[in-house]
Symmetry: C2
Subunit: 206 residues, 2 copies
DNA sequence: GTCTATATCGGGATAGAC
DNA sequence: GTCTATCCCGATATAGAC
């Protein structure tokens, strides 16, 4: 692997582990056994490294959020959520210091907002589809509040969980996050669907 | 006001505005028109200032969370939430850089966890009470997921809202947060109660 | 209690040789 | 592409006079 690429990989790893604000360029260089000068040859500063990482995150996330407007079932939603949580876990450093990062790197701020917006839209698309299929019941007003809550939970569940149960390593508990989001949707489902979902959840979590 | 107290007040204000990691002791001193030396006479370091602020936050929050185990109605819950959001808004710097702060100031970590735990318990107490009064319907499992979601939303709503709608000044929108939490509870309410709640919400938000 | 001056340190970043 | 050496700066914290 080329140095430029190794820098990106190690940076992501260190950012995720220690938090982006707590990782220095020297630390990154040390970890790679290269000199700081070398690092600065490849990236002109720390900001550029972060931008590169964000661009990759953004690209993957937007791709994922480009939801085809077809009929979607509960199982599809489940899978969809799982994929989203995977991407977030991969770039969790962004989420752990979200406000701070968006404050210090102003250029990514609008782009992150756009992702949030797309997430809300995707949620709305899915929920509307479920409603059209008579799987889910709810007023427009309720659906909007629901989708806001879904996006909030997706965004912050990993951090929230981390505070309560400090993870030693990479053992992020994706399943629990998916469950938590599905529990937001559950009460709006028809009785039959709800039971099925709850059963799935229990199995999934254990 | 004595200098020691003025330091605390200004620090809180600056932390809230710029984020705790971005505020220096020099900035605090400047804002008060005192010398850095003087500041360090009153507090031996920045950590001590933060601890003092956290202690005040903690004291107020725990006081609030000491929920009397009596019959609680929807309106009481509304008020209760509003008081909680007020405290959080007052010390929002903690929430904006939560993971980071808990990482760098290890001593407050267990204390914050305890507050989260108490919040979950308080939510559970309230929801159980509502269920006993037949206002709310739900299995134990559902109530637990619900209360987790409530606490998550309480914890992160302000930050989430901030990202989407950058606030120029102190105009924190408490109402919307309360609404968002209530929308989590709504689907579990009996039809009559639910309609009443939604009506209340609409009025409250406008 | 308050000030000025200063020490110390660490992180970001550059210059120039190889 | 990579290294060593170094600069610069800002932040924390202390010393000692008033």
């Amino acid at each position: 692997m080329k140095t430029r690429e190794r820098i990106i990989h190690i940076s992501l790893e260190l950012f995720n582990r220690f938090g982006e604000p707590n990782v220095t360029t020297l630390q990154i260089a040390d970890e790679l056994d290269i000199s700081p000068g070398n690092l600065y040859y490849h990236y002109k500063n720390k900001t550029e490294i972060l931008h590169e990482l964000f661009a990759r995150f953004e690209q993957q996330m937007l791709e994922l959020l480009d939801v085809p407007n077809v009929e979607i079932g509960i199982e599809d939603q489940w899978l969809f959520l799982h994929l989203i949580f995977e991407r977030i876990a991969e770039y969790r450093f962004l989420y752990k210091d979200l406000v701070n990062i968006l404050q210090r790197y102003e250029r990514i701020r609008p782009r992150f907002k756009k992702i949030l917006h797309k997430k809300t839209e995707a949620s709305l698309t899915i929920c509307s589809s479920l409603r059209d299929q008579d799987i889910l019941i709810g007023s427009d007003e309720e659906l909007e509040a629901l989708c806001n809550n879904i996006v909030l939970t997706i965004t912050y569940w990993p951090s929230f969980d981390l505070i309560r149960h400090p993870a030693d390593a990479q053992d992020i508990d994706l399943s629990h996050g998916v469950y938590q989001v599905m529990s937001l949707v559950a009460p709006y489902l028809r009785d039959g669907e709800r039971q099925a979902l709850m059963a799935m959840s229990r199995e999934y979590l254990s």
